[in-house]
């Protein structure tokens, strides 16, 4: 399933990187500790987090993350969104807590 299809199915918002949503989603990873993500997330994963500072874009870009999913409708700084556009990373907002966000993905078979 593509990122754009996940967004449509779950009614998420696209905050940045609208043009980079044709990536295939392989799985998911949820964590707020960047080193955990570095160690555990795989290429093509959706990364669910509460972190919103610009370094999440660097992490996602280095790992080849399919898209960053911000939970809880947290406010994402402009600097982060700008960096995401620059580095071709999509940032999505699920508007739901991490638990429900993950459950939604599981229901889609991800």
């Amino acid at each position: 399933m593509k990122v754009s299809e996940v967004v449509e199915q779950l009614g998420w918002k696209v905050l940045a990187g609208e043009s980079y949503m044709e990536t295939q989603v392989n799985g998911g990873y949820a964590a707020d500790l960047l080193s955990c993500v570095m160690a555990g997330a795989e290429t093509g994963d959706l990364w669910i987090t509460l972190q919103t500072h610009s370094n999440i874009v660097a992490v996602a870009s280095l790992l080849g993350i399919a898209a960053i999913v911000i939970a809880e409708g947290a406010n994402v700084p402009e600097a982060t969104l700008g960096k995401a556009e620059q580095q071709e990373v999509a940032i999505l907002s699920s508007g739901a807590p991490v638990y429900e966000t993950v459950a939604g993905l599981v229901a889609l078979g991800i």
């Binding site: 080193s35 570095m38 500072h53 370094n55």
Partner: protein, 322 residues
């Protein structure tokens, strides 16, 4: 898909197209023609032509008399004969002989293509310098030859992209390496990861596998973030890319690590609460680095600084396919 794009990049901008151009201009007809084609004498019947075309699935043959080319007879001529119920007639009556368009064995494919375009014919007998028939060439022969050449070109580029060694192959020295340097500023979280991203791009560019680029860049990232968080004045990231080994060094001028063994333990961190809130300082940095690198050296002295050296073997396994 991504890999194919990278390969195209590797072939250079417009590389493939200019190669095709070169091929069309420089390949002689002799390389694409069918040699020793089937021929018929002028007195052969149209029925014999029909059998020959059917049996060998071809669409036309040269007509030869006394070792001299006297015409070409094709499927189209056969249809005329069929329409007139003249299958018993000799091919001489239906063949094209006047104004016969031929190709020369040594002329470039481009010239032959141009003649196909201008005349609309489907095949040309190929003659040598003494006007002796040596082959036959069709538009299809040229297309297939060009496609094969393109395939070879692609395979060549792919083989090159598979091995960083090839990147270095053209450079002669006793010990060739590509060195990249990046300054990392203290507390500059906004640019954290930039150096690692650049190292990753460089590695992919010279043909490292995505897996190798990934483990090098994860380790480089952790080291880069350590410089941002834990140093007095930031530091330096050096990447030394060699044909069979990649060495990443992160060095700074203080404050130094009090207990190196303790710092290497998973979960141990001296980061402040504020930094931890950003998701850093999990105490997993060095653990991640050790997991990604094949060997590391960590040296530090209080008041002097720290130097972390990370070594990555470039094995054939890691320059292969995705």
């Amino acid at each position: 898909m991504k890999r194919q794009l990278a390969l195209l990049g590797f072939m250079g901008r417009g590389g493939a197209l200019s190669k095709v151009h070169e091929l069309v201009r420089e390949t002689p007809v002799s390389r694409v023609m069918t040699v020793s084609p089937f021929t018929l004498p002028p007195e052969a019947t149209m029925k014999q032509l029909k059998d020959l075309l059917q049996k060998h699935r071809i669409s036309g043959v040269p007509v030869v008399e006394d070792n001299e080319l006297s015409g070409v007879v094709s499927l189209e001529d056969l249809i005329h004969a069929l329409e007139n119920r003249r299958l018993d007639a000799p091919v001489r009556e239906f063949m094209t002989s006047e104004g016969l368009i031929t190709a020369h064995v040594r002329e470039p494919v481009m010239e032959a293509l141009r003649r196909f375009e201008n005349t609309g014919i489907g095949r040309m007998p190929v003659l040598d310098a003494r006007n002796k028939l040596v082959g036959i060439v069709t538009r299809g022969d040229i297309t297939i030859a060009l496609l094969r050449a393109l395939q070879d070109l692609y395979n060549e580029a792919e083989a090159m992209a598979d091995r960083p060694q090839h990147f270095f192959g053209a450079l002669e020295s006793e010990n060739t390496s590509l060195q990249l340097r990046y300054h990392v500023a203290k507390d500059d979280f906004a640019h954290g990861g930039d150096a690692s991203a650049k190292i990753k791009r460089a590695l992919l560019r010279i043909g490292a596998s995505p897996q190798l680029a990934r483990r090098v860049s994860i380790a480089a990232y952790e080291a880069e973030i350590n410089l941002i968080i834990h140093t007095d004045e930031g530091g330096l990231i050096l990447a030394d890319i060699q044909p069979d080994e990649i060495i990443i060094v992160a060095q700074d001028s203080g404050p130094g690590i009090a207990d190196v063994d303790l710092a290497r333990q998973p979960g141990y961190s001296t980061a402040t609460a504020e930094i931890r809130e950003m998701g850093f300082g999990a105490g997993m940095g060095l653990t991640n680095i050790e997991r990604c690198a094949d060997r590391i050296n960590l040296w530090s002295a209080i008041g002097v600084g720290a130097r972390l050296q990370m070594m990555f073997d470039v094995s054939p396994r890691e320059v292969g396919d995705d």
